[in-house]
Amino acid sequence: MTDATPERDTVAIDSMAHDIYKQLTEGGNMLDVPFKTMKDVFMWAVCLGAQQGQKMPLTGKRISIFRWAQFDPQIDVPLLKAIAIAESGDVSILLRRNDILNIIEEYANAGIYELRARIFDEFGQPLWNLVSMVP
């Protein structure tokens, strides 16, 4: 593939969403702050976005939050690729890492707000709110 831009290997979020990521991971109590890693937050955000079919382009400052290598190769990577294939309708997207990243970043950028609302804005402790989201 003659891709002019070099293949990225970092995943970015919109700087405006950074606070939500922190809110969901920083703190002591697991009942109030359910997530251990930002990677899990990100995966939830992508899946929520994909589930609802909602994408949002990153318009603010981009923050590189972690590297592609931090995704679980057995679960996360195939999942993200599947989402990219379903969205683009094009199997050859498998060979274009940058395009995959763009799609999942935009899903995550929409999903993160939904995630925050469902976890914190609902009645009940955050962990149980999260549990209730598993179908």
């Binding site: 195939p78 379903a86 962990l127 999260l130 549990v131």
Partner: protein, 646 residues
């Protein structure tokens, strides 16, 4: 600078190569060059200026000798140059400026590009060494901006004595005594000081102190909270011990021993259950946070559909990998394991498979991912089941714990209601201590949070303090820079004034000395003054300014006195070259001046007409003349020839 020789080649009316040597020893230091008007005195004067500075020659027409041009044939090169040799500070120099032209068909001359200018140092063994910075060198010897005070045009001789000449007098002093350097230095330092002052105004100050105060307060609060937390810790221990003591006591009392022991067992059980609950919740958290893939089963389904489609279209073999096939071919073995030969049907079939497949990378990806995605469904089920089991267990534990708590409460009530006064009292105390313990735990928790946030705030403050410290240092430095620049500028201003005054007074004294020497109406004039406004004034014996009444000659003498005074005081070693200096003087002043003039300069070159230098004037100069020339003008060729007289 002491002139040695000038060589002219085709310079104006000096056709061909002609040269002239200057008198330069102590006694015989005067060179006299005679010529009628138009003979070439001014051209010679111009030649010296042009050679050294390339200046003074605008509006004088063509410099290249007309005769040389005339005699040249079409297309022939004509060369013009002026060469000057001189000594300065013990070194010998040779300066040459030249110009080339080509004669055109129409008889005119086409000058080639720029003039060439070389300055060479002549070493002791006669070798010539070219100097890299010719202009700078000449300017270091006799700066271009003061040359007109030494290479002196006689027409301007009374210039400094004119009433309106104050400005020129001031400028002459300014230039000759290098006051310009001081002036520029002061100007630049003032500008620097002003810039620093502007910068200082915009700098922030007081920020550092504010931050340090905030930091101090935050640390004080931190300490207070940490102390309080420690205090509560102690109180907590005390309360716990008290509770333990009470429970021990209860165990000792016959009637209620069994109740307390029961409670002990319940507490133990509760501990275990609570730990288990914590554990289960941890697992629930871990399962849940990794259950995101369960949300997107439909999406996975769609992706699989697309992948299968791709495969079904025959673009990708369903279960054979390219790499596998390549490996088989390399080993010359069939899928079933049997070896085959080159060109055999099995071989060809394998090759065909390779030809029909897509590039390896995509194919492998598709196969990999399809296989993995198919497992997600099962995974999702298992995840959900897992979660359900754990949630159920959690619910059970919560109920269990609730029941145990209820049992413990019940025991407590029975103890409280005990008819034994001691038991009842002990239990009440116990419960009160437990309430305290709860409160202490809550307080400790909130203090811990406050402490964390204070520590974070202190860390931020410290970053800002570090930055403010840097800024303050910058500010301090700026303040010092301003102070230094301003003080230096002021110092120069003061020095300049004193120094300039000094110069003025010295020049005044010297001018007076020379004036008295040269003027013939000696007793009529009492004083020469150079005012702070740079007015050159002569005071008569009645104490009045005499300038309005000065004759042309007297003015010229005053002017000349000023110039020679400057030349003496400035310590510039320079020749006085004067072009028709006596032209407008009557005989008396002329005679007087010629008597003393040779001693007023290290070297004197006079370009004169015959009328200027006659009789007594001539006789006065005679003992000091070292070289004498006559400029012979040929009206037929319009050329001048330099003739040596002495």
């Amino acid at each position: 600078m002491k002139l040695e020789r000038i060589t002219l080649e085709n310079f104006r009316q000096y056709f061909g190569r002609q040269r002239l040597d200057f008198a330069k020893d102590k006694q015989h230091r005067v060179t006299v060059i005679h010529g009628v008007n138009g003979a070439g005195k001014t051209s010679l004067f111009l030649a010296i200026n042009w050679c050294l500075y390339g200046e003074g020659v605008s509006n004088v027409g063509e410099l290249i000798s007309k005769e040389a041009i005339k005699l040249a044939s079409s297309g022939e090169n004509v060369e013009m140059s002026v060469e000057l040799s001189f000594t300065h500070d013990g070194e010998r120099y040779l300066v040459k400026r030249s110009r080339h032209g080509t004669k055109m068909f129409d008889g005119s001359i086409q000058v080639n590009s720029a003039d060439e200018f070389i300055v060479m140092r002549i070493l002791w063994d006669g070798q010539a060494q070219t100097i890299k910075n010719p202009i700078g060198t000449i300017n270091a010897i006799l700066p271009s901006n003061i040359r007109s005070y030494f290479l002196f045009d006689g027409e301007k001789i009374d210039g400094f004595a004119k009433p309106e000449a104050a400005k020129e007098v001031k400028e002459a002093i300014y230039l000759v005594f290098k006051l310009e350097t001081l002036d520029r230095a002061r100007g630049h330092l003032e500008t620097a000081a002003s810039d620093y002052r502007k910068e200082l105004k915009t700098a922030t100050s007081g920020e550092l102190r504010g931050l340090l105060d905030e930091d101090e307060k935050a640390r004080e609060e931190l300490k207070r909270k940490e102390d309080r937390k420690a205090e509560i810790g102690i109180e907590l221990d005390v309360a716990r011990r008290k509770v333990a003591d009470i429970e021990q006591r209860l165990r000792e009392i016959q009637n209620v021993r069994f109740l307390q022991q029961q409670r002990d067992r319940i507490e133990q059980d509760l501990k275990v259950r609570r730990a288990e609950l914590e554990d289960v919740q941890n697992q629930i958290r871990d399962i849940t946070t990794t259950s995101y893939f369960t949300l997107v089963q439909p999406v996975i389904g769609r992706a699989l559909h697309l992948l299968d489609e791709k495969r079904e279209r025959g673009e990708i073999p369903s279960n054979i990998r390219r790499q596998f096939v390549e490996d088989l071919i390399a080993e010359m073995r069939c899928i079933c394991g049997r070896p085959f030969t080159d060109g055999s049907p099995e071989h060809l079939r394998l090759l065909r498979i390779i030809d029909n497949t897509l590039p390896g990378a995509l194919e492998d990806e598709v196969l990999d991912i399809s296989a993995t995605l198919r497992t997600f469904n099962g995974r999702a089920h298992r995840q959900r089941d897992d979660l359900t089991i754990h949630m159920k267990r959690r619910a059970e534990l919560v109920d269990l714990i609730k029941d145990l708590d209820a049992e413990a409460d019940d025991i407590g009530r029975r103890l409280k209601d005990s008819p034994l006064e001691e038991v009842s009292r002990l239990e009440l105390q116990r419960q009160s201590f437990l309430a305290d313990i709860d409160r202490y735990n809550t307080d400790t928790g909130s203090l811990a949070r406050d402490i964390d946030s204070l520590k974070e705030r202190i860390s931020q403050l410290e970053k800002r303090i570090g930055q403010a410290r840097k800024n303050e240092k910058k500010e301090k430095l700026l303040g010092i820079k301003f102070d230094l620049a301003q003080r230096a500028a002021d110092a120069i201003k003061d020095m300049y004034q004193t120094y300039a005054d000094d110069m003025r007074l010295r020049i005044e004294a010297k001018t007076k000395e020379i004036f008295k020497l040269l003027i013939w109406k000696d007793s009529h004039f009492q004083d020469v003054r150079l005012s702070p406004d740079f007015d050159l004034e002569v005071i008569d014996r009645y104490g009045r300014p005499a300038r309005p009444e000065l004759s042309a000659g007297e003015r010229q003498v005053l002017s000349l006195s000023f110039i020679t005074a400057m030349s003496r005081i400035s310590e510039e070693e320079a020749p006085l070259v004067m072009d028709t200096p006596f032209g407008r003087l009557s005989s008396q002043p002329r005679n007087n001046i010629t008597k003393f003039l040779p001693d007023l300069a290290d070297q004197l070159v006079l370009l004169v007409t015959d009328e200027e230098l006659r009789d007594q004037a001539r006789a006065n100069l005679e003992p000091r003349i070292g070289r004498e020339y006559r400029l012979q003008f040929d009206s037929k060729t319009s050329c001048t020839r330099i003739e040596e007289v002495r």
